[in-house]
Structure formats: C-alpha cells, structure tokens
C-alpha cells in the first residue's frame, strides 16, 4: 500500500482548517450584523424575566468590558479566534465558575458514542438494502419487501423520535422515556452500567438509523444500477464466478465508493439532526447541553458547543478523506 502523498495530506488538512475557520467566522460576524446591542438585549431580557434589574446601565458597561465588546471589532475578532484555537471557550454564564470546556468534556463521549454507532449502523444497513434493491438477481419477493424499510426516509430524525417515545416509551413502556442510563446504576465499566446505556440508547439510535438509512439505500441502488452495465461485471459472469462473489467483490465494492464520499458530505446534517434527538430524549450529550444553554440563554455555552460540533464534524470528514485513498487505490489525489 502506498503512503499518502504529502500534497494530498496538506490539502485535506488545510480544508479542515478552512472549514473550522469559516464556521467560527460566521458565528462571529452574523450576530454582529443584526441591529441592536446583544448585551443591552440580554439585560433587557433579564429585566423582562425578573421584573427589574438594578444599575442596568452599569451592568451593561461592565459586561461589555468583560466580553471585550468595548474593543474595536478586528481586535475582538482576533481575540475570539485565538481563544477558539486554544479551546479556551470561556466560563458558562449560568453555572458561573464552571468552564464551558469542562461541561462539553462531560457530554462529548455520549454524543460521539451514540452518533458513531447510529451512523455506522444506518450506513451498513442502508447500503445493504440499496445493494439488494439495485441488483437484478435479488429475488423479486425480497425486492418487493425491502422498500417497506424505507418508509421513514423523508421524515426528520426528531419527528420519528417523538413518535418512538410516544409508542415505545409512553405507550408500550418498553424503553425509558429519557436519560442516558438508569438512576439506579453507578457510572463505571460494569456490566450493569453498559447494559443500561445500551437500553437507554436504543430508541435515540433507532430514530437516527431508521430515518437516515433510506438515504444510503437510494444512493446505493442508483450506483448498483450504474455498475450493472460495466464490462468487468459481464466478464466476471462469463468467467463463471459464483454470484455471491460477483455481488460482493465486483459490484458492491465498486458501488460503495461514492457512498463513502457521501458520508463525509452528509455528516454535518446528521450531527445537526441528532442534537434534536438528544434534546427530546434528555440524552446527556451535546444536544441536550445545547438545549439547556438555549433555555438559560447561556451564550458562551451555546457558542462553545456549536464550535465543538463544527470541529468534530470537520475532523470526522478529514478522517474519511484520509482513509478514502486506501479504499480506492485508483484515486489520483486530484479532485
């Protein structure tokens, strides 16, 4: 296996930096384009909630200083980028002495765990279904039954999540309504804890898998149909190879490749959609933390989480990009 050429490696890493920088810059600029002063708006909202805020003018002034808003915008921007680059995400506004970084560190493993399992499952299942759908020799009964599994394809994650909670948690009481693990188990590497995590994670993961696998299935079906006409398949058949071998090693293997690129491109949407699923299930991951930030108007927390979501997605894409040439030896490293 050839090592990755340095040029390709550098381009992909630069792409990662560009993505994160663009995301961070959008988060910085767009709120500032909006009319009105965010700090004044924040104080007036506090006033609306608690009735009256003492010394509101001084409060506004001190907050502006604290957030560095009294500095010129370019200085603010550079300081902002510097803080993000060192993962200095500031203090949580509502849980004051706690750092945003620490809150995120607690919830990140939950999100990464749930998402990687769900995405992998949906990718494998979806591609399997799509491959069978696009393969001429699939028994016609199977081909008629399979589309049933794609019923929920066009439904957003969180809507199916609501339905699942209602049917399986509220109605049939088969699964817990919320949380990441039972109250009665101690967190740790014990069998009880792990099984509780799996039990609590089933519905959230199902919501993601069922709704996203159709997307892979449709893409894979299209690719399989396109490969069906290729010469190497005809040759493989003519050589008398077993149909199973032709299916896996010749058709699926080639049809899969664009799907891997598709995975890289759609990760952003999956990450965004899963935040709502976590919020619905009160799953102790980033999505739920984000919702708490929104409810408490904890701006540093919201911004910190969103930044980490962007970094994590871009990182996952970078990994896929670096693995891809190993899957497809023909790639020329020029897009």
């Amino acid at each position: 296996m050839r090592p990755l050429p340095t040029g390709y490696l550098i381009r992909r890493v630069l792409m990662f930096v560009l993505t994160v920088w663009l995301g961070a810059t959008m988060m910085f600029i767009i709120p500032r384009l909006a009319p009105g002063d965010p700090v004044a708006a924040m104080v007036s909202r506090m006033a609306a909630q608690s009735g009256y805020v003492e010394n509101s003018a001084e409060l506004i002034e001190s907050w502006r200083k604290k957030f560095g808003l009294d500095q010129p915008v370019p200085v603010q921007y550079l300081r902002y980028l510097g803080n993000l680059a060192t993962f200095n995400l500031g203090y949580s506004l509502t849980q004051f002495p706690v750092q945003v970084r620490d809150l995120i560190a607690q919830s990140l493993p939950w999100t990464v765990g749930l998402l990687s399992v769900a995405t992998l499952l949906s990718f494998l299942l979806g591609n399997g279904i799509g491959a069978l759908l696009g393969w001429q020799r699939t028994p016609s009964l199977v081909r008629r039954l399979l589309p049933v599994t794609l019923t929920f394809t066009s439904i957003p994650f969180f809507m199916l999540a609501i339905l699942l909670i209602y049917v399986f948690a509220f109605g049939l009481k088969l699964f817990p309504v919320s949380g990441g693990y039972g109250r009665d188990v101690e967190a740790g590497l014990t069998w009880g804890f792990i099984s509780s995590v799996v039990y609590h994670g089933t519905l959230p993961a199902l919501a993601i898998v069922i709704t996203s696998m159709g997307f892979w299935a449709l893409g894979m079906r299209g690719m399989m149909i396109t490969t069906a006409g290729e010469d190497y398949l005809i040759l493989a058949d003519a050589k008398g190879l077993r149909p199973g071998r032709v299916f896996w090693r010749y058709a699926v293997r080639n049809a899969m490749l664009p799907q891997v690129t598709g995975l890289a491109l759609s990760l952003g949407g999956i990450v965004g959609g899963s935040t709502l699923v976590e919020y619905l299930f009160a799953y102790p991951g980033m999505g739920y933390l984000l919702y708490q930030g929104i409810v408490n108007q904890d701006y540093t927390l919201i911004q910190g989480i969103c930044f980490i979501l962007i970094v994590a997605t871009a990182l996952a894409v970078l990994v896929i990009d670096l693995v891809y040439p190993l899957l497809d030896p023909r790639i020329t490293y020029h897009r």
Partner: protein, 289 residues
C-alpha cells in the same frame, strides 16, 4: 435529451398532489375555519379531538394547554413552513446558478476558490451556526429567518451546477453554439439551463425540504419567530409541556403529520424528477427480471 413526460411519473404526481393538498389547506382553510383561534387563550384548554371522549365539535383536532385550537394552528402554520422553504431554497438556487456557472465556465483559480469554499460550507453542520445566530437575534420575522437559512442553501446547487456545466461544456451543441459566436451568457441561458432543468428542479425540491427542516428544528428548540404560531413552535410548546408523556398526542401529532406530508411529498417529487433526469434509475424499478 428526451424527456419522459412528467405526467407519466407516478411518484412525481403523488408527491405534487401531497404538496398541493397542503397549499390548498392553507388557502381554503382560513375561509372555512376561524384562524384567530390559533392565538393564545381563545379556546378551552387541553381538549382532545372531537371524536374522542371529552372532545368538543367546536375544536375538531382538540386544543392545547395555552388555549390554542390545533386545527387553526395547523391551517395557519403549514403555509408559513412552505413559504420559508421556498424563499430560502429560491435564494440559494439563484446563488448556486450564479456561482456554479461562474466556476464551470471560468475555471482556473475562480473555480478552485468557489469549489473549496462550497465544500467547506457543505461540511459545516449548518444547524449549529443557525442556532448561534438565532440565539443572539431573538426577534426574527419569518422572511428574515428564511434569508438566514438561505446562507446554507447555496452550496448543494453550486456543486451540482458546476459539475453539470463541466460536462455540458464539452458537448457538441455547446461547442457549435460557441463557434457560431454566441456569448457565454447566451449559452448558459439558452443552451445549458434548459438542459439542466430536471436536475435543478430536483435540487430545488431537496433544498426546500432542507430549509423547512432547519426552520422547524430551530422552532422546535424555541428559537423561531415567537409572535406567530408555526408548526415547529407548536411542537416546541408540546415538548416543553411534556405533551408526549401526558398522552396529548394531538398537540404534536397533527403538526408533525402535516410536516410529514410536506416532507414526503417533496421527497417523492425529488425522486420523480431524478428518474426523469436519469432514466436508468427508472428502468430498473419497472423492469422485473
């Protein structure tokens, strides 16, 4: 390119009639039903739908805990969702056509720049940035929200159109047009765009549903327009008031049902259009060996 007549694609027809059904509900609904009932405190609280125990004929789909009539909420909310989707996707599509054609025709560093930025924006989880924006800018109108959403509606069409322009550019009839002295703009408008129409339409439908999804997600997190009831906001209130575990399925069920009809309709339209643009997909469905 030979086009299959759109009327012969059942997916397209079913999808279109679902979306048209929702539009009609939004147009005819206000004539038959008092939509002021969508405001807070206009109806009795927590009534189940009319056909259930304790239901009231005056509120066929039931009411929720803030005294809104669910039927009125659905009638007024559905057209707003479609509107957000149309505006965001429309603006995104125009930007995409502009950038995609520029990249495909000029090539060189212009193409490199556009392609790189497009790929980067595609990778960013747009919802994260939209949440940050809407957390700061709390008083949004529906149209402002649509414009904010369009910030993420341009990369997909740009990518598609650039690729199409690159393949079309080498076709005989485009070379012919260039040889006969047609300007780049004329070639794009009269030769390329008409040939890309099925792709453009399919991408537009995909974007409409993407924008509606983003809008609904923001609303369901409590970040949408706050003064006018939208479908997503209704879901937000339902979740916040634990309607799911209180068994008040009608509160979230009807808004979600309408949204599912919209999403499924748009999805069927998009696959129908894909099959028209790429007849190979279609053959494989109908031919049963």
């Amino acid at each position: 390119m030979t086009l299959i007549h759109p009327a012969t694609s059942p997916k397209l027809l079913i999808g279109a009639s679902m979306v048209i059904g929702v539009v009609l509900m939004g147009v005819i609904g206000p004539l038959c039903w008092d939509t002021t009932l969508a405001r807070v405190g206009t109806s009795p609280l927590n009534l189940p739908p009319a056909w259930m125990m304790g239901g009231d004929r005056a509120h066929p789909f039931g009411t929720e805990s803030n005294g809104r009539d669910i039927l009125a909420v659905v009638i007024t909310g559905a057209p707003r969702s479609l509107r957000v989707g149309l505006i965001a996707a429309g603006v995104g599509m125009l930007t995409g056509i502009l950038l995609g054609c520029t990249a495909g025709l000029f090539g060189g560093w212009v193409d490199n720049l556009i392609r790189t930025v497009t790929d980067a924006v595609l990778t960013i989880p747009s919802l994260a940035i939209l949440i940050v924006i809407s957390a700061y800018v709390r008083t949004v109108e529906i149209d402002t929200m649509a414009l904010i959403l369009s910030l993420f509606a341009w990369p997909a069409p740009t990518r598609l159109i650039r690729a199409q322009v690159l393949t079309l550019r080498e076709r005989g009839y485009i070379r012919m047009a260039r040889l006969s002295g047609a300007s780049s703009l004329a070639i794009i408008l009269t030769e390329m765009i008409p040939n890309m129409l099925p792709y453009l339409a399919s991408s537009l439908t995909g974007n409409i549903s993407g924008a509606i999804l983003a809008a609904t997600s923001l609303e369901a997190l409590g970040l949408g327009p706050t003064r006018i009831p939208t479908l997503g906001m209704t879901i937000f209130y339902a979740i916040r008031s634990s309607a799911i575990i209180r068994g008040m399925w009608w509160w979230w069920g009807f808004p979600i049902l309408v949204l599912i009809v919209i999403f499924t309709g748009l999805f069927l339209i998009a696959i129908g259009l894909d099959e028209i643009a790429n007849p190979r997909l279609r053959q494989a469905v109908t031919s049963d060996k």
